[in-house]
């Protein structure tokens, strides 16, 4: 413990130099709301702590052509209040607003949320549904971009190598013809870790009245947030009606059944999944509110 060294780079050059020193025992400190307790656990050895909180250049949301670019050190408070996120990534805004408490949102970052790789990370669930790409920087100054789904490997596991820092997320900015939503179920109303979460993105043609480009992100269902391609396929080309809501809910419950067969919480979660899916569907506001027919 006492041998931990701390560096707080303020520029990209300083960050690269710090990352070049990284070993398997090096940790990147973003907001710290998960990491601080982790590194203080008995037996944890950290040789170098790279504090990213003095890197203002990693905190931004900007429009770049058809893309929205979000710096890794952007906090949830910032995401929640950002007009570009509101307009072009509504599900991310809703997810950000439901992370922890005001105190947590003020420091916790989207980059930390993904790198920490909790299966229930709200930010990751929204970014998965937005088909986000991740750009990283390493100790040789090399930048690499890959799909988020290739970075999230499992609970607490990512494809990030030692000394590889997430610097940016990018995804296609949603336009007027798109709708997105995020819904979550936790132990209590606020300040709660998701027990189930869903981010939905659809393109809705108001003339043809059909859904396309359907993307369904599920959190706290599997080892990591993921998109359910089968469910997306079932909804593609369908009208925005009660039957579509039912298909979404049934698919969500199916995903839960597949992910935790036999678990004590399954009877609760498969029912909760139905309610969650209807919450997310209704938040899209593309048809009159629907309710599940509880059988």
């Amino acid at each position: 413990m006492s041998t931990t060294d701390v560096v707080a780079p303020a520029t990209t050059d300083e960050l690269v130099a710090a990352l070049a020193r990284a070993t398997p025992m090096t940790r990147l400190l973003a907001g710290g709301t998960d990491l601080v307790n982790d590194i203080r656990r008995p037996g944890r050895q950290t040789d170098l702590l790279i504090d990213l909180s003095h890197m203002p250049a990693l905190s931004y949301v900007r429009h770049d052509g058809d893309m929205l670019r979000v710096g890794a050190m952007t906090t949830f408070t910032e995401l929640q209040a950002d007009p570009l996120v509101h307009e072009h990534a509504f599900c991310l805004e809703r997810a950000a607003s439901q992370v922890g408490s005001a105190q947590i949102r003020n420091v916790a970052t989207i980059g930390g949320n993904v790198a920490n790789a909790s299966p229930c990370a709200d930010g990751a669930t929204a970014l998965v549904a937005l088909s986000a790409e991740v750009t990283t920087l390493d100790g040789s100054g090399h930048r690499a971009t890959r799909p988020l789904r290739d970075v999230l490997l499992g609970s607490g596991r990512t494809a990030l190598t030692d000394g590889e820092a997430i610097v940016e997320f990018a995804f296609a900015a949603l336009g007027n013809e798109h709708r997105s939503a995020f819904a979550k179920i936790g132990w209590r109303t606020a300040v709660s870790v998701a027990r189930l979460s869903m981010a939905l993105v659809v393109r809705f043609d108001p003339v043809a009245e059909v859904l396309s480009e359907v993307r369904v992100g599920l959190g706290a269902v599997g080892e990591t947030a993921f998109r359910d391609a089968v469910l997306e396929g079932l909804l593609e080309g369908r009208p925005a009606d009660e039957e579509s809501a039912r298909i979404l809910a049934e698919g969500c419950a199916d995903a839960v059944r597949r992910s935790i067969p036999g678990r004590y919480s399954l009877p609760y979660k498969e029912r909760a999944a139905v309610g969650l899916a209807y919450d997310a569907w209704n938040a899209l506001r593309i048809c009159p509110p629907c309710e599940p027919a509880w059988g």
Partner: protein
């Protein structure tokens, strides 16, 4: 390692381990024990302080993260020896019982009022959602924050548990449900 931290307007030079949390340095090195540690994992908010104008949990923040920033603790609210308006309203409204959550409540409320001088009850409740109090039931705390913002303290438009339950039980087309309260 040596750290220079600005707390309540004063620059402190302290010696701390690199993994020392902000709350450890505040309480143990600076003697600012008004900041309380409850859960130690960012759930209860008793450790809330303000860093650069924003409420944060000092139990899940390292002291090094506060370098170059302005930290305000509950001691900073009454630095001149006189209670801050917010503290005064907590006293007047009976928003304190055991008092353990109070410093954190005050700092979350202070951060809210610094950013939003005329918050709605919903704003207040959102700002205080990360501060747990097991004594007061929150009502007087919300009233105190509202009073500190200079707004009249009126009965809040928050449905009671009974009203929420009845709304849940409502079936379209049927007469509203009634609760049988055992004739009490």
């Amino acid at each position: 390692m040596e750290l220079l931290l600005t707390v309540n307007g004063t620059v402190w030079e302290v010696s701390a381990r690199p993994t020392a949390r902000l709350i450890d340095v505040l309480r143990d090195q600076m003697g600012l024990s008004g900041t309380k540690e409850g859960c130690g994992e960012g759930e209860c908010g008793a450790c809330t302080v303000i860093v650069d104008g924003k409420a944060v949990n000092s139990c899940v923040m390292l002291a090094v993260q506060a370098l170059g920033k302005e930290v305000l603790t509950v001691e900073g609210l009454a630095a001149s020896g006189e209670l801050d308006t917010l503290q005064q309203k907590f006293v007047e409204q009976g928003a304190v019982q055991c008092g353990f959550c109070t410093p954190g409540m005050l700092m979350s409320a202070k951060a809210l009022l610094m950013a939003n001088p005329l918050p709605s009850d919903q704003d207040i409740r959102t700002a205080l959602a990360g501060n747990l109090c097991r004594c007061t039931g929150y009502k007087n705390i919300v009233a105190a924050v509202r009073a500190a913002s200079g707004q009249e303290t009126v009965a809040m438009e928050v449905p009671s548990e009974k009203e929420e339950l009845l709304a849940d039980l409502a079936v379209p087309g049927l007469a509203p449900a009634k609760l049988d309260e055992g004739g009490e």
